[in-house]
Amino acid sequence: PGSQIFQEKYQLYLKSLERHKYLNSFAYSSSTSMDAHYGINQFSDLPVDEFISTYLKSYPRRYQTYVKTIKSSTSEGS
């Protein structure tokens, strides 16, 4: 406590609390208890951009084809 890195991490932690408040507001307004909940975890002291650049690194390539499926009338009917 008192060091610069502590202060930086603490500010990030406070920001994460704001995010949790916003994200959890959907659950509180929902009628079901199954809604997702958000809070403190191992990523709470990470800036969002660092979280994205470290952990979110998969992407479909443009040239790759994903066969598009169409909803059939049978499945709609059933």
Binding site: S30, M34, N41, Q42, P60, R61, K68, T69
Partner: protein
């Protein structure tokens, strides 16, 4: 289709892994799908090497990112045999590709398929049941703070950035949801899992779906 289906009930899903600071979610997702497909074929469940895919899948960027379909394409084209995880351990960083003699035990695939099920999650359910766990690419920006429950809001499609493994679904309750295994360790989410509402392509879960053929 059954109201609930979970490949963990058949003991063909390996434990939740931790990619640590290595951005190789794509490799974890693909290796998870291969491990399950191998076990579904009646073999003893095995943990296969993620590091082998990170180091050797030349169309991808190792810990700097990659694509599930590129990895499956590489596995299929080269008929690479994935060795046991203990033979080629995860180091959370890129390394040189190790080659093994043909006689070394390993698991190869017979093909792979890739689908966009964005308007047809029911078809995705059928594929999950018929072929095994599915490697998918989702938008996981809002997952930074996730602790549990079913994600139903503020998780858009159209910005794919993270690969995970769909291992089941549950439609018995008020909110039907996909059961998804992540690779951020068991301390994250619901013991390493995340649940995503079905039917609305939440997080783009049905946009980029692929799986190996064993």
């Amino acid at each position: 289709l059954p109201l609930r289906f979970d490949w963990r009930d058949k003991n063909v899903v390996m434990r939740v892994k931790n990619q640590m600071n290595c951005g190789a979610c794509w490799a974890f997702s693909v290796v998870g799908a291969v491990e399950s497909a191998y076990a579904i074929k009646g073999h003893q469940p095995l943990e296969l090497s993620v590091q082998q895919v990170i180091d050797c899948s030349y169309m991808d960027g190792g810990c700097n990112g990659g694509s599930t379909v590129s990895a499956l394409k590489w596995l299929n084209q080269t008929q690479t045999k994935l060795v046991h995880a203990s033979e080629y351990a995860f180091k959370a960083k890129d390394g040189f590709c190790h080659y093994f003699p043909c006689t070394e035990f390993g698991v190869s695939i017979k093909g792979y398929e890739a689908y966009d099920f964005s308007y047809c999650e029911e078809e995705m359910m059928k594929n999950l049941i018929n072929f095994g766990p599915l490697a998918v690419i989702v938008d996981a920006v809002s997952w930074q703070d996730y602790l549990g429950g079913v994600i139903q809001h503020h998780c858009s499609s159209g910005h794919p950035n993270h690969a995970v493994l769909v291992i089941g679904y549950d439609k018995t309750g008020d909110i039907p949801y996909w059961i998804v295994q992540n690779s951020w360790g068991t301390l994250w989410g619901a013991e390493g899992y995340v649940f995503i509402k079905m039917g609305e392509n939440i997080c783009g879960i049905a946009d980029f779906v692929s799986f190996p053929l064993m």
